[in-house]
Amino acid sequence: MKKNFLIRQYLSDKKMSIRHNYLSEQFQNSKKIFNLIDDVVKFNDFTLGRYVEKFEKEFCKYQKTKYAIGVGSGTDAIFLSLKALGIKEGDEVLTPTYSFYATAGAIATTGAKPVFVDVKNDLNIDENKIEQKITKKTKAIVPVHWSGRVCEMEKILKIAKKYGLFVVEDACHAILAHDDNKKFAGNFGVTGCFSMHPLKNLNVWGDGGIITTNNKKIYEKLKLLRNHGLESRDNCKIYGYNSRLDTIQAAVGLEMIKKINLITNKRISNAKYLNSKLKNIDEIKLIHEQKNYKSVFHLYQFFCKKRNALNSFLRKNKIDSKIHYPKPLHLHKAAKKFWYKKGDFPFAENLSRQVISIPIHEFIKKKDLDFIIKKVLEFYN
């Protein structure tokens, strides 16, 4: 009981030869980061130090937003955004039922009820099913740019405007992703929430997150909320939380962000390559890419027949395929308190039985991709 489940997962993933986790490889080139950490020590600024500010500025440049606030995690980014907007007990917040638990968890932690909406066949929220879920209590929409594919934001913004709802983007997967107007994730809603968990496209070496916004008032509020509501060391303006991006992690991020274009491009080209080779397999359905959108493939996923058998077959061949995730949010025990049941969102339930993820990070080589393709073909033949 005592060991948390991730320890076992680390061990089993280690046995794979084409791995989902590339952090050991990434770490080999870390001299510069150690120099930066030395510098953090010299200035004594382990919390909210200079590197946090530098990183925030740099992040704004890449994501093309006015402000960015480094926080403890992607979950906290969503939670703090909702808090800054005054979301509270009794309110309702719309979000897709297909996401990582944290999206709904962050909503539930504010006291609000997560009201789920079904997804489309790209696993993003179905904008046509949003309006029917809006009640008097609805206060906000949290669309998720799943796997780094921007949602139909213009339509969602229109609905939000019509009903006076806030939009908070769960952009945890979506660094550098944009729509056909080249509008980057994090610029649509009041805030954009990004994760820098070690396995994200842009990562640090522990938990970390960042919020983007173009709204100065929200920016000021978030700066207070992440640090006990402190205006200065001794003056507390409002009660707040402690959710700060560690300074040494900001130093890691500052070095990593230099490579984010390379990382993203490599992921996109790997995805395209796999798409081109897998598209002719009858049992496989690829996810459609919209024209002129930039999807950044935090995950490379497709839908397939005999999914569980394919997953075991690939893993037996030491390919670290994974399921993100086998159950939509409304089917978890945690959701029971909101009276959700099986059959509520048939589309998401169906897709969750067919989806599979294949590693495509920047350390995956062409020969790895060819091996994966070969094995997938072998399985279906």
């Binding site: 005592k2 060991k3 948390n4 489940f5 991730l6 320890i7 680390y10 986790n21 590339y22 952090l23 050991s24 490889e25 990434q26 770490f27 150690f34 030395d38 020590v41 010299k42 004594n44 382990f46 919390t47 403890g72 995690s73 979950t75 906290d76 939670f79 007990e89 638990y101 944290a102 968890g105 962050a106 932690t109 006291g111 968990h197 070690p198 070496w205 522990g206 938990d207 006990h228 509501g229 402190l230 003056n235 507390c236 303006k237 409002i238 009660y239 707040g240 939380y241 402690n242 959710s243 560690d246 300074t247 040494i248 992690q249 995730y325 086998p326 159950k327 978890h332 025990k333 945690a334």
Partner: protein, 366 residues
């Protein structure tokens, strides 16, 4: 002479080799979240504190908010604590939906048990003493009150790692204790971090779920949770620091004794009883006349001091806006007299003597 309040660069210099070794070891493994190192750290702390369960969390504040939710405290429930603490003590209570009921302090700067009972109402659920600067609150008296009124004793042990109260460690005496591993604490990591410790298995299991999205395993979420995990890397540093903490606490206690011996006729020195406890002096807080003048005088002489805390919580905007004006005479009185002198394991004897000399000089001149 220039004497800083903290000395991280010196600490880092001494520990650098070990820290980097650990860093490289974990980096090569690529395990940054909830890895084996964190598990080992939690086990090591269990053994050290002689407590059944330890959970590594993001920081003290998040840990406390989670804990209050895990205890099923509802909106409007009251928690009794002090005003003479860092704002987070109250912040966590408010952010969990509960109401902080602030009680005045005694000369040891900790909660005054004699003032508690008249503040207890039907809504009171818990008492949360703060062991300020590592000097234990009067837990014996507090336990009695808790028993009588069926309240839960929660220890804010943010300042108090590795300190025994009689023969038990602080943090393990109430139902549950929360430690901070913030870089400024005596026992710390190199970023934000915290620990929740308890002997209550049910509570432990709930917090283990809550800190990681309510996840029982990778794919199943049992309750809505949040993300508040002590980084694996920081846990690795913590494992190294744990080996040193007794030594450091001892050095700080000796510095404190040296201060006390030499300053007791000039200023009000901290109140502590070595028969009950061996405080680690996360801060060494004296109470003085002409506090601000003395602070400036020391500053002019290159000595960095601090005040914990110049504005008590009940005088902060955040509190006043929500709960109006309350009076805590002793807390207010002391907030103008307290001064924290430099204390850390790297402070040299000649530096301590210099500080003492300058304080003596100040009072001889004025």
């Amino acid at each position: 002479m220039k004497i800083n309040f903290t000395n991280f660069p010196q600490e880092f210099k001494l520990l650098k080799k070990e820290l980097i070794k650990k860093f490289v070891h974990l980096g090569n493994k690529g395990e940054y979240v909830l890895g084996n190192e964190l598990y080992q750290f939690e086990k090591n702390i269990e053994n050290y504190l002689n407590v059944k369960h330890v959970v590594g969390v993001g920081n003290w504040t998040e840990g406390m908010i989670m804990l209050l939710k895990a205890l099923n405290f509802k909106k409007g429930d009251e928690i009794i604590t002090v005003s003479n603490s860092f704002i987070a003590t109250c912040g966590a209570i408010v952010m969990s939906g509960c109401k902080p009921i602030l009680v005045d302090i005694k000369n040891d700067l900790n909660i005054d048990p004699a003032l508690i009972e008249k503040k207890i109402s039907k809504k009171t659920k818990a008492i949360m003493p703060v062991h300020l600067s590592g000097i234990p609150a009067n837990l014996k008296a507090l336990k009695k009150i808790c028993k009588k009124h069926k309240l839960i004793l929660l220890e804010d042990a943010a300042h108090a790692f590795g300190i025994k109260y009689y023969n038990q460690y602080l943090g393990t005496i109430g139902k549950v204790g929360v430690f901070s591993l913030h870089p400024r604490k005596s026992f710390h990591v190199f970023g934000d971090g915290g620990l929740i410790v308890t002997n209550d298995t049910k509570l432990y299991k709930k917090i283990m779920l809550m800190r990681n999205h309510g996840l029982k395993n990778r794919n199943e979420s049992l309750i809505w949770g949040t993300n508040s995990r002590l980084d694996n890397l920081q846990a690795g540093f913590g494992n190294l620091m744990l080996k040193k903490i007794d030594k450091w606490n001892k050095i700080q206690l000796n510095i404190a004794k040296h201060y006390s011996r030499n300053l007791k006729n000039l200023v009000e020195i901290p109140e502590y009883d070595l028969n009950i406890s061996n405080p680690s002096f996360h801060q060494y807080i004296i109470k003085v006349k002409y506090r601000n003048k003395l602070k400036n005088y020391l500053k002019k002489n290159g000595i960095d001091t601090a005040i914990h805390y110049p504005i008590p919580i009940h005088r902060q905007k955040a509190f006043k806006k929500q709960y109006g004006t309350i009076k805590l005479p002793k807390t207010e009185f002391y907030s103008n007299k307290i001064l924290s002198l430099p204390i850390n394991p790297y402070l040299k004897k000649r530096e301590v003597d210099f500080i003492i000399k300058k304080i003596k000089q100040f009072y001889n001149e004025s």
